[in-house]
């Protein structure tokens, strides 16, 4: 709770700081504020100071603290990377940063709710902020399209969640997740309850961009500015998946026969749709959008396993590795293409001739997303596959293996363009040092050799 309060105040403060007109200052304050919040989150007891009434609706258990710290850390990284974007004339950096911090508050609520109202408030705080962020690049038609599309479809998905909540309330008379979960599955078995679970699931699957509810994500990712796209594919993905995990992996796990089949088919569809469509893209951002759908598919495997021990560690590791790889990749891409327009795969050709260090970081990032050994992505996949094997989900694993193969095929495309093309480089600029990217790549390699490090760190939180 302390963190939520702190972040809300930080957002307001940055808004007023905007009068100074110095983007660098705004960014510095925002990033240091985030790190302060991170320290408070880890050190302090978050369940203190929750006002009466809310105390039954938010619970900062270890799951919440772990995912929240990931969210704050990655948001800070993304703010650090957005230097050039914030410095642009037509971007109001203070507003942008404060909206980003507000959306982070929503994201943190999504990791810690125990009640439907807090879930809904979290979803809306995150969602509404994102509609604004997607449209920040006012003069770009793509950005405007992204904002509108995201608003319409996002609102639709929120409605589905809300509809599902109302039905669950009607069927059980409860809004509290633990209370519903404690009811026996025979007692709650009614058409209303089934429909409620289904609508809620569909709404949440929509938010994590699982197929077949994924149609918004490629357009929104492609149109949004790079910083926002990175934020959506890292932070928003983690927050919505944490919410999905909290609802279905924890609270509704005993009621799995109401939702398991839907998640199974969504998982298969996400793996196949995401990977097959990523294979044919010419725009790197669209490719990343479709690959993001496929990563949702891998993550859903963990939800299907219905095994509390180890499952959370696996999900955390996967989201951490995926977020890290995206941050490493975009730290380089944003330095190479500062104008923030669409990035085409062919634009990467010959880039290694100009910036070899950047090319190495980019290569490590894409290899990790493809799940090749020596990178953290390999163990991330292993943490998804092994429990599924234990559960006997053999057909699903065959799909998973096939899609990993397709995944390798398209993740190698940018690597091939960067290193092996004889054409003249088309990249616009190359900064000398990309500390965030280099650090992220180093951690990817570290977790690729010693994945236990992450669990050692986790056990401290």
């Amino acid at each position: 709770m302390l963190t939520i309060t702190l972040l809300s105040l930080l957002g307001l403060f940055i808004l007023f700081l905007g009068f100074s007109g110095k983007p660098g200052l705004n960014r510095a304050v925002a990033v240091s504020g985030l790190f302060l919040a991170l320290i408070v989150l880890i050190m302090g007891n978050q369940n203190l100071l929750i006002p009466d009434g809310l105390d039954t609706q938010l619970n900062f258990d270890s799951t919440a603290v772990r995912f929240s710290s990931l969210l704050i850390l990655f948001t800070a990284c993304i703010m650090l990377l957005g230097k050039k974007f914030f410095a642009r004339e037509d971007i109001q950096s203070a507003e942008f940063l404060s909206v980003m911090v507000f959306s982070l508050v929503g994201a943190i609520m999504l990791t810690s709710f125990t009640h439907m109202i807090t879930l809904f408030v979290g979803l809306e705080t995150l969602g509404i902020s994102l509609y604004v962020l997607a449209g920040t690049d006012k003069k770009s038609a793509g950005s405007n399209e992204a904002a509108l599309k995201y608003l319409l479809l996002g609102a639709f998905a929120t409605c589905l969640v809300l509809f599902g909540m109302a039905m669950l309330y009607g069927a059980t008379g409860q809004l509290d997740f633990t209370a519903i979960a404690s009811l026996s599955s025979i007692a709650v078995d009614s058409d209303l309850f089934r429909a409620g679970i289904f609508f809620m699931l569909v709404g949440v699957l929509f938010k994590v961009s699982a197929a077949p509810f994924h149609f918004w994500s490629p357009d929104v990712y492609e149109g949004s500015p790079n910083v926002v796209m990175l934020y959506m594919s890292v932070v928003v993905k983690i927050a919505s998946f944490a919410a999905l995990y909290r609802i279905f992996g924890i609270y509704f796990q005993p009621l799995s026969h109401f939702w398991w089949d839907v998640v199974y088919y969504a998982c298969v569809a996400s793996l196949l749709v995401g990977n097959l469509l990523a294979l044919v893209q010419k725009s790197l951002k669209r490719q990343m959008a479709f690959s993001s759908i496929s990563h949702t598919g891998y993550l859903l495997m963990a939800i299907l396993v219905l095994n509390k021990t180890g499952q959370e560690g696996g999900i955390f590791f996967y989201l951490f590795g995926y977020g890290l790889a995206l941050i490493a990749a975009f730290s380089i891409l944003m330095a190479w293409f500062p104008s923030g327009d669409n990035i085409w795969l062919k634009d990467l050709k010959g880039a290694a001739k100009v910036d070899q260090g950047g090319a190495i970081v980019l290569t490590i990032a894409f290899l990790s997303m493809a799940g090749i050994p020596l990178t953290g992505g390999f163990f991330a996949k292993l943490y998804m596959f092994t429990p599924a094997m234990g559960q006997g989900l053999y057909q699903l694993l065959v799909v998973g293996i096939l899609s990993s193969l397709i995944g390798a095929a398209y993740y190698l495309k940018p690597i091939m363009n960067v290193w092996f093309s004889s054409e003249a480089p088309a990249i616009e600029g190359a900064e000398k040092i990309k500390l965030v990217g280099v650090l992220a790549a180093a951690i990817i390699l570290l977790t690729g050799l010693f994945p236990d490090v992450i669990f050692a760190v986790l056990s401290l939180i």
């Binding site: 390999f378 292993l382 596959f385 065959v398 390798a408 091939m416 092996f420």
Partner: protein, 479 residues
Amino acid sequence: MNPLYLLFSPLLAAVASWLAGRNAMAQKVLAFASLGFSLFVFQNWNASGFEDLSVSYPWIQSFGISLALAVNNLNYWFLVLTALVVFTAQLFHSTQGEDKVRGDVMALIFLLQFCLYGVFMAQDLMLFYFCYEASILPIYFISSRYGSPAAERAILKFFLYTLGGSLCMLLAILYMYNQNGSQDFLFSSFSSGYFDAPVQGWLFLAFFVAFAIKMPLFPFHSWQADAYAESPVESTMLMSGILLKMGIYGMMAIVIPYFPLGLKEYGFIFIGLSAFGVLYGAFIAMVQFDIRKVLAFSSLSHVGLIGTGLLTYENVALEGVVLQMFAHGINIVGLFFISEIISQQAATRDLDQMGGLTRSSFTLTVLFFVFLLGSIAVPLTNGFPGEFKLIMGIFNYNHALGILCGSTVIFSSVYMLRMFQKSMLGESNGSTSIQAPALDGLRVAGLVILAGQVITLGLFPGIISGISDAAVRILMLAY
């Protein structure tokens, strides 16, 4: 001496050669030093016996993966061959003239050596898999970056093919892990009776596909010819000389001991297919005009014979497998080395445009002919004992198949001698001026070391089989 030293020495060398960059002298020194260290370790092990050479350290405890390494009668010769092939490839690279030496190529080759040592010494399935799959990366980057313009596609095909095979293996490994009560991946946790017959069948197929793609056995070979032809010759040497031996090793270390019932169930299908591949490779090699492709298809044919012998599960054939895999590694690497010198001199790889090279270099001719004889398996060369044992084993298994595979001895002399004749003998083709071949002292020394082994191992095959036959006897107990 602890196997860890051998495992990590190439990593150190990789860092050093990365730093050395384009300094050819430093790279040569590193290549020699690394070979020297490896040979020293091998000699040390050979003298001390292999009993104490098994170590195990916890590595990834959340998964039960350990850094378990061992040296035994089976993997010893694979390790020796690794050091020799890697050295030859690096020798070729570092002696090709100051302006062509690249630190990243040398470092990647060392990295590959690290992965190969890991594969051959691993006593933990996940460590094995980890190194097995990681070994694709160095070759991928060397070949795509420094190969011909067509290399990018050819190597992508290789990459995806092998990755597909490896992923099948990964599924099987995870299945084995889940069935294993002790929740670890150690080889010693599994035994031949561990899984019942239908399960062994599936596991056999999953592992076999991975290894058959790597070797490659017919019909999993379609990546091979292009990948060999379009890559820079260093990586062709590595692919043909040692990478495919990972497949052979995997068959001997994992498939035969743990899934003998699966082998019995499905083996005969693949025996037929790979025996067909023996003849298929030979016939295609006869009509190729690209010197690299002749060698690529000859390799398909020779490895097909090894694969057929492996799958027959005959004692004498398995003994032949070890002999022949070592001989094939030496011969094919020597042949690729020399073929590259020839085609650089002639400025073409087209056999029809070459000729008359015997006059310009006697040394080259002799060396070429020695490797060629080894490859044809003439008695008193290293190819003979292995091929003889393999054919004998196949003949014991099935007479008709033995006769069919035996005919490869004739066919291989046809395509090899055709290649020699077209490239070395006859009149020099006027279209290209052929100067004295680029054979400096170091290259001659390196090739003489290899050629010496062709003769030595032909005369005394007991040097290898004295160690490896004991491993084969243990394998025969798996049924």
